[in-house]
Symmetry: C2
Subunit: 129 residues, 2 copies
């Protein structure tokens, strides 16, 4: 089953949270994304059955496969947010809107766009907020 936009968002948030705090629980993901824990529970079940995450007793972590997607999403997120901020968009709006742009492109197109716009691939530091 192909990953949807929402699935990519969940993976990305697990990645960001694990960088921030190590262990990631469902409730952390729920708070980060602003959805209910029931929604996270459902999403995790699907992501696990497709091999993107593994659920421990009280934590969730990315598999190799999930990590790859998550890193890629985070990289794009940083790219688009940076681009919008450079254009004069506020950090808050840039973050919101970048969240959607990051799902629009294929890997190949994204790389070409990034190459043309000459922005390096450096990820922004992952803030505690």
């Amino acid at each position: 089953m192909a990953l949807r936009e929402s699935g990519e968002d969940y993976l990305e948030s697990i990645y960001v949270l694990s960088e921030r705090q190590g262990i990631v629980r469902s409730i952390d993901v729920a708070e980060y994304l602003g959805v209910t824990k029931a929604s996270v529970s459902k999403a995790m079940a699907t992501l696990e059955s497709n091999g993107y995450v593994e659920m421990g007793k009280r934590d969730v972590h990315l598999t190799e496969r999930g990590l790859e997607v998550a890193r890629q999403m985070w990289e794009r997120h940083c790219f688009f947010v940076g681009l919008l901020e450079d254009a004069g968009v506020s950090a808050e709006v840039a973050s919101q809107e970048g969240c959607h742009m990051e799902h629009c492109l294929s890997e190949e197109s994204f790389e070409k766009l990034r190459a043309m716009l000459g922005r390096d691939g450096a990820s922004a530091p992952i803030m505690t907020d």
Copy 2:
């Protein structure tokens, strides 16, 4: 009721088709977007009840309000497709992916991005295919 991504796509396609061929019927929109005519029928009912389109006996046309949205979407479409093509993405892929990007930004952010990237607002000619 706010316009969703799919609603914007319908409006844009009506706009493009009307430039191409004058009269636009539901079936034309269905073929253009690759959805069934039942889907178009439903979508048109919603768009009409919200004042974006008017349905004649055998045609659909945009209201002033719908036209405004449609033009804006087409402008964005052209912007993103042009950007991707300049980056080396094939016309076909650029068109597909641009279709999604055009819905991600607020009016304000889009204008800022366009200003920064220094692309003019000229729309591409509307091809017959």
